[in-house]
Symmetry: D2
Subunit: 289 residues, 4 copies
């Protein structure tokens, strides 16, 4: 594990002594604690922790570490996961017609600003093929109709699974996914919605925003769940607008918000900053990373 940053995400019932017990555990195993972030939800009496470790001072193996940790974890009722930072996550991007999020994600990935391998772009339209090709990423055109929906989803799932995709990014993929699909990748599908949810769920949020005369528009990145636009929110942002904006102008202004919001959310996910709790996403900030 030398030279690796090991990240533990922990959730458990709140109780006295947690931080001491957990940090002691890692200290005794010879780890250097790079950062240790906590959140106590006092309404639900739940404790959340993100610990980042440097493994340079220890010879422990992954199996030994995990077995030891289990002994700590079980009596304290931890839900937990660990990432060893030893392999980049595989990402698939799903799109339809809209190009701005795709460009942005591919550029960030190519320039090393997103820590992942974009393995493929999947679309129900052939329109954005040239963008994937510019960046040398395989593009799969899988059209979909009401009738072929389940069959197309099976094709998508096969693609994702055979490529060992860790994260699916719906970068303006304008199709509603089936429950089966969604539940196949729990907390592993991130969607961008082009409004400041819960306002303007569903279709045409910019048109609705115009009609409602709002003075700001926004975007929301969230984990996809069975309930459309209802999943745990990872990131949101807005920008002020005036009466001058038509739905078309709002769409243009919104594109820049969508890009930033989705990229930030994906970065937090890839960086193991997120613990989902019910319908809320606990998103720890970067800690000197």
């Amino acid at each position: 594990m030398k030279s690796q940053v090991v990240t533990f995400l922990i959730k458990c019932p709140d109780q006295k002594g947690l931080v001491a017990k957990i940090t002691n555990f890692f200290f005794e195993k010879g780890f250097n604690i790079l950062s240790c972030q906590q959140y106590v939800n006092s309404i639900e009496d739940t404790y959340f922790m993100r610990v980042r470790l440097n493994a340079d001072g220890t010879n422990i193996t992954k199996t030994e570490l995990e077995n030891s940790f289990l002994e700590l974890a079980q009596p304290l009722q931890f839900s937990w996961s660990v990432n060893y930072g030893d392999k980049k996550q595989n990402v698939a991007i799903m799109v339809s017609h809209t190009s701005h999020n795709l460009y942005d994600l591919l550029e960030r990935s190519k320039e090393g600003r997103l820590n992942c391998n974009v393995k493929m772009v999947i679309s129900n339209h052939d329109k954005l093929r040239n963008i994937a090709e510019m960046f040398g990423i395989p593009f799969y055109y899988l059209p979909v109709t009401k009738e072929t929906k389940l069959a197309q989803e099976s094709q998508v799932i096969e693609l994702l699974d055979s490529n060992e995709i860790d994260l699916v990014i719906m970068a303006r993929y304008m199709q509603i996914l089936s429950s089966y699909f969604i539940n196949h990748y729990p907390e592993r599908i991130i969607n961008i919605h082009h409004s400041f949810l819960p306002a303007f769920q569903g279709a045409d949020p910019y048109k609705k925003a115009y009609e409602r005369g709002v003075k700001l528009i926004g975007a929301t990145a969230h984990y996809a769940t069975e309930d459309l636009d209802e999943g745990p929110i990872i990131e949101q942002d807005v920008k002020p607008v005036t009466h001058e904006s038509t739905p078309t102008t709002l769409k243009r202004i919104g594109a820049d918000i969508e890009k930033l919001v989705l990229a930030r959310a994906v970065k937090c996910h890839l960086n193991h900053q997120i613990i989902v709790s019910g319908n809320r996403a606990i998103v720890f900030p970067e800690a000197g990373e």
Copy 2:
């Protein structure tokens, strides 16, 4: 009219030559045009204009001006209003328990940062009396129950009308007003709602925001209409929050947003910057004012 700033607000079907015709009219009457702002809604083919005039170069009377203007306005189907800036508007503030908006409005008014006379504070609770008294503003305690609602509203209306109130500010007045009341003061009641509408309409928006796990909270100032929290939006703002915030913390963070949003909306109204069109508020920015 010497030394006065005269403001015309105009709405009409869009057509060629409007700005030339209108500005010519004022130029020929001897006015100096301080600013002239337009908005064309090309979806509804509607034209909106706000003109601010300096009357120093003319001896025309108000009646002459308005009669002349009517001749221009009728064939072009103007809806219009004019304000001569010769008297401060009378304002009533309605509150319940929450003090931050009240303090803020009274301070701004006292320090000359809101161009109005706050004539009274009306509340269904006695709690904030001391604040009104600190600022030397009459405080009317008019408690309300389900049974006495209409009677209490009649008392309020009487107070407002006998004091020639031009604008009613609902500064966290936690009562739903009757249609009769609302329609008695069309486009003359401004309400502050403690969420970024249309998200979290109705009661307890901060609790709902916590439960939905949103990453920003906000406030919305709008004209009150019969449909609760559905009136034309004048001003909105938001602030980022994290999972750390409880409903109580959100309430505290939100208070600062509410203060600014309501104060800005009231200023725009008092300054004749707003034309309402359907459910949208056209809010012209200040023009060197």
Copy 3:
């Protein structure tokens, strides 16, 4: 001129009747005024106007229009320019090592979100060649040393002039241009500086920002003038940061601000929204465009 949007930018001493005279002029020539924006600088008694016209109702030629307008303009001492929207402007992008602004501008241009022809990318390093090539844009590698500076600038000027470049974008071109170069393209070179000017002028602003412990970082797009980082500011933005950020993190966070700020500034320039007055840039907002 049919189907074109004609834009006039006017600056003159303030005087009574300007808006009436100017809008009348265009009305009488048969133009439809799409928007008419004004700004009066009452400190310097100067008047600024941006008028957008639809030429569908007129058969006037450009020469006739300009000759007629001159008769209006001269007695009123107008500085003015007109654009007929009939040809896209030619743009050159200058870069060094940093790629994020280049990607962003090329993407926007390719996707039709920036109304221009990017004719070339010029760099003193060969590093970003592949990005230009991805987008099919000619890339010129013109290295520079202290000794070859003037010679290299001559090469650049020749490239720009022979390609009839209308706008030069310094998208993190980390060289100080000579006065000769700068003055060759007055108000036609836009630079992005990676701080919220006038804070942190000169080199290494993110390092300075870290050392000063500021709680926000930003970026500034401005016209290049002889005084480094002192030219008229077109657009600025900032983002909150915390003590957690190292100079490296600030650089990464700043990249997203730089992209948006430069793109917005370029858009305003290409869209004829800017009038420079002394060291201030009057930037009219879009008007239903």
Copy 4:
């Protein structure tokens, strides 16, 4: 110490095992750790920690706690402080002519939104006396001239010291304090400067902002040090502005930023969220407080 929130602030050279050692210490003494926040400055190899403890499970006395803690602190070279939350801090507000910050601080304090006792308002002008009196706070009018500067400062110091003032807030006190005064209250004087420092240090920042044509204005709250406007920055914010704003308008817009920035900085200080390190202020966010 029952029912109290005890807050430790610690700074020391970075080294392995710090979080485990410190949290263990408190766990063994019977404290419940409410929150534990860290920051590692890897450039200077320095470690910072803020720990909040609930003392309900322990009978330890303050002296015992501090003596024990010293044994931990000395070998690890801690700089540290502890606050027991058992008495409200005493605050003095210094003002000149400008009222908005004073109103805001007095309102927040009165309404329980700032955890302190405002013991007095001190001014070199008599103008704002009525505001202090509205809120029932003693007002000291201590005029100052070049000649009487040191004498006046002595009077101020006597007032502050005899009232056991913990924090001095310069809420637009437009006098430069002597080094003697400043050094008498290290990290205990917070000043609000009406620009986004380090831009526009010194006098008349809004005039300078107008002349420089910046597209945003701001405010900065910092600890006062001998170097004017150079002290550690606690909080900053900005707001976009346009060319329309005169210095007077900027002043008005800026007032709202100044209020929020100063109030937030004071809250962080009173809440023991700040550790100063050189010229940088480490400001921990609230942790579920």
